[in-house]
């Protein structure tokens, strides 16, 4: 099918047509006839969002580095273009060849956030691929696969995927594609391939596992069959200096959310914040050497022409050689007029020197994420940021000309009381006092503090995986209390915003859900749900209806305290951190005690035993 001829007359009817036609610098076109395996890398959100995703850039270049493999990009069309696609029967296509996705060998989705799940179904439907893996027949292609953080509990999507890829994809993706090519040449069918794939470490084939339930609705057992391993262990790359990293990126024509060169400087996180799933999922902590970082940054900037570079990771200032790296990098950056950004800087090691280093960046606003309003609650969540440190950093920033502060908090954290809620306002008030007591502050500027409160969502593979999410009534009471604590004279200086409770509730249901949510997601999509993470597209009534239709209760998944010995839907997936560690950390949290970061003292999560070496 010639998709190009069909879309060209329609493109000008769509907003930002450049996102639907490909052809960007760095995009890779190969001859269809000369490749053996074709991989459609699907991001279940729009081009604008998906093109910012680093994982896609890494795996795209990795697969395309193999001469006989071809990886292409696919994004969810916006509503206007989707309507045209459906009207003119244009199937979902990939941006490089403009060939229909259903003709590919692999259709691979990245699961970055739970609220993108309905987009996956919508994209499969647009592609003309049966939604359920069991309806795809014995033909080998297309195999619908997924990776990414949400694969740590893929059970709510179990029926839609042929297999899931756990952990880091740099090695396992190629192993999987090699196996595919071998078995394709032997004329193997889908079920034989899936049985063989299940033997590769890191590959989880959900159809080879049977789930049974207890009378109370919790899981009785998950049983592997056909020789599949009882536990599937995530994959990691051992050495970040030797791991594959792209020499160049696809450079979008239109502006995307993060439109810049991105260098991943380290993987994992030493911090152990107890609410943070990424902090546990990506263990162990591994750094790149300054030489590797500098070489990769130069290559990326030289080949893309980007004049903005981000040193990215979960906590970039925890890189042990950040100063040396910056020293080596700065002459090159200056010479080429490249601005550098260091996202996710931590309060405790945010120094005046570091701030001067990144002066090229516009002094717009200062962002802190204390997450909780009192030291007690920060201890509970192991966010080891003290008020003194925060004030010290803010003081430096105020004397450096900053007058806008963004503060991120979570509400509904385990053990939270009204006192903790008041603490949020007290913290903001102390910042206001500090600002007016800073002699070098910007004269004539009024301080603006924006408090943004998310609702805490308990996630698998964290010490809070056992915790209930706060109820709607309780959360509303706490929000109301927060507003009432702001003194009238501060009302113009402090702005408060929060996310819709129902969005967080749905996230909580999907994050810790099981296979009984499969029909719920499908029903919600049938009823019109898509782009659920965009608040203007989110309609909780649809989800309520879908759950009611399927006899499923949101509170069972979101608001129930789970026993330490309960079998969780994700217990047969192994992310190297022991469940006993999460139990211990949960108990430590309830005792309001902190756990030092990994570099200071090993917390005993178990990763070092599994990788057979000390983390540091």
């Amino acid at each position: 099918m010639n998709v190009r001829a069909k879309i060209e007359p329609l493109l000008l009817q769509a907003q930002k047509p450049a996102q639907y036609i490909g052809g960007e610098v760095g995009s890779i076109c190969k001859e269809r006839e000369s490749v053996d395996v074709r991989f459609a890398f699907c991001f279940p959100d729009t081009y604008e969002i998906g093109m910012s995703h680093l994982g896609m850039k890494i795996l795209y270049s990795l697969i395309n580095a193999r001469e006989n493999f071809w990886c292409e990009r696919v994004f969810a069309p916006c509503a206007d273009f989707e309507a045209l696609m459906r009207e003119y029967q244009i199937p979902l296509y990939a941006l490089e060849s403009l060939d229909p996705v259903r003709e590919f060998d692999f259709v691979g989705f990245t699961l970055q956030y739970e609220l993108s799940y309905t987009n996956i179904l919508n994209m499969l439907d647009l592609a003309g691929i049966p939604l359920h893996a069991c309806d795809r027949g014995e033909a080998l292609a297309p195999l619908v696969v997924a990776g990414g953080p949400c694969v740590c509990n893929p059970e709510p999507l179990a029926d839609f995927f042929d297999l899931f890829i756990l952990g880091e994809g740099e090695e396992v993706n190629l192993e999987l594609m090699d196996l595919y090519l071998r078995m394709k040449r032997q004329g193997a069918g889908r079920s034989a391939f899936l049985r063989a794939a299940a033997q590769i470490e890191g590959i989880y084939v959900p159809s080879l596992y049977e789930v049974t339930y207890q009378a109370d609705g919790t899981i009785a057992a998950v049983t592997a069959k056909d020789g599949a391993p009882e536990k599937v262990t995530k994959r990691i790359v051992q050495d970040m200096d030797k791991a594959f990293y792209p020499e160049t990126f696809v450079v979008p024509f239109m502006e995307t959310v993060h439109d810049r060169a991105v260098e991943e400087v380290l993987r994992g996180c030493i911090r152990g914040c107890r609410f943070c799933q990424a902090g546990f999922l990506y263990r162990p902590f591994r750094e790149k050497s300054p030489e590797t970082i500098v070489r990769q940054c130069r290559s990326l900037c030289d080949t893309t022409g980007y004049q903005e570079l981000s040193l990215s990771s979960l906590s970039t200032s925890d890189h042990s050689q950040l100063e040396e790296t910056l020293n080596e990098l700065l002459p090159y950056l200056d010479e080429n007029r490249i601005n550098i950004t260091l996202p996710s800087l931590r309060v405790d090691n945010f120094s005046k020197e570091l701030m001067d280093r990144i002066q090229g960046v516009r002094k717009s606003s200062l962002t802190f994420a204390p997450e909780a309003g009192t030291q007690r609650l920060r201890d509970v969540i192991n966010k080891n940021v003290s008020e003194e440190e925060l004030m010290r950093t803010a003081g430096i920033a105020f004397s450096g000309g900053f007058a806008t502060v963004k503060l991120y908090f979570m509400m509904g954290l385990p053990t939270e009381t009204m006192e903790d809620v008041e603490g949020i306002v007290h913290l903001a008030e102390k910042l206001i006092d500090l600002y007016y007591n800073t002699p070098e502050r910007s004269k004539g500027k009024t301080i603006q503090i924006s408090i943004s409160c998310a609702t805490f969502v308990p996630k698998p593979f964290t010490p809070f995986e056992f915790e209930p999410q706060v109820s709607r009534e309780e959360l509303l009471a706490r929000q109301e209390h927060l507003l009432s604590c702001i003194q009238p004279r501060h009302r113009k200086k402090i702005k408060v915003s929060w996310h819709t409770y129902e969005i967080s509730l749905l996230e909580a249901v999907l994050a810790r859900g099981d296979r009984r949510l499969v029909p719920v997601i499908e029903r919600a999509w049938q009823l019109g749900s898509k782009f659920d993470s965009w608040s203007e597209c989110f309609h909780y009534e649809i989800w309520e209806q879908a759950m009611a239709d399927c006899g499923v209760s949101a509170s069972f998944y979101a608001n129930r305290t789970r026993a330490y010995d309960e079998i969780f839907p994700w217990d047969h997936l192994d992310y190297l951190v022991e469940k006993s560690f999460f139990v211990r950390e949960n108990q430590t949290a309830h005792a309001s005690e902190t756990t030092p970061h990994c570099r200071a003292k090993c917390a005993g999560c178990g990763v070092n035993r599994r990788i057979g070496r000390a983390c540091f």
């Binding site: 493109l11 450049a18 052809g23 610098v25 024509f253 900037c301 022409g305």
Partner: protein, 219 residues
């Protein structure tokens, strides 16, 4: 004396769907990739010194776009062209480079080739000729302030060729394309379409030449 290189470039293929702002960014990134010694403006947020003769409506082809790039050192024009062509995306090609003479504000007209696909090109031909021969061609044009005003397209229209091909009607038009007077050929075609209830879709429009007030080649 500033080192300014003027370039004529084509915008075709997939690159037709790049908006003007995105095109500017695309060129600036290409200059960085080519490691050309670009000049930057002074100030707190310096910009690369590029300027474009005019904007090309989204979706149009062109073989006649022009831009200036200021450099901090003297380089042969051909070398600049070659280095940029090595790093530009598919569909954007520099066709010639020289030391520009006329300021871009002297741009006044442009030539276009319009191709309307359709087998009944003979009927289309007759219809268009009748349309173009009217004493006045009134239509609504959107103003910058968001309203509309009625304009007569007739004085702006110069048809330099029309031909009924087996599979399409091909028109050659010379239209104002300067900062004071400007006529987007799409507005003309839509007016014709509306007046005569045509059903064609997606004409291919290509800008083929930029011209001065005297309708001489712009250089």
């Amino acid at each position: 004396m500033k080192n300014i290189v003027r370039m004529r470039f084509a915008k075709t293929g997939r690159a037709r769907y790049i908006s003007h702002l995105d095109l500017i960014r695309c060129f600036q990134r290409a200059v960085c990739r080519a490691k050309l010694p670009a000049a930057y403006s002074e100030g707190f947020h310096p910009h690369m010194q590029t300027s474009f003769a005019t904007t090309l409506p989204l979706g149009f082809f062109s073989t006649a776009e022009q831009m200036d790039l200021e450099l901090t050192e003297e380089l042969p024009c051909d070398a600049v062209m070659e280095r940029l062509n090595a790093v530009l995306p598919e569909g954007i090609r520099i066709l010639e480079a020289w030391k520009g003479m006329l300021a871009f504000k002297k741009l006044a007209y442009a030539n276009y080739t319009v191709r309307i696909p359709g087998e009944s090109s003979g009927e289309l031909y007759d219809s268009f000729c009748a349309f173009a021969a009217q004493p006045e061609i009134l239509t609504e044009k959107r103003t910058k302030k968001g309203g509309t005003k009625e304009v007569d397209l007739k004085p702006m229209l110069e048809v330099t060729g029309a031909e009924a091909l087996p599979d399409a009607l091909e028109l050659r038009l010379c239209l104002p394309a300067g900062s004071t007077a400007n006529l987007n050929p799409m507005l003309l075609l839509e007016t014709w379409k509306k007046q005569t209830e045509q059903t064609w879709v997606s004409p291919e429009i290509c800008r083929t030449e930029l011209l001065t007030e005297e309708k001489q080649k712009f250089f």
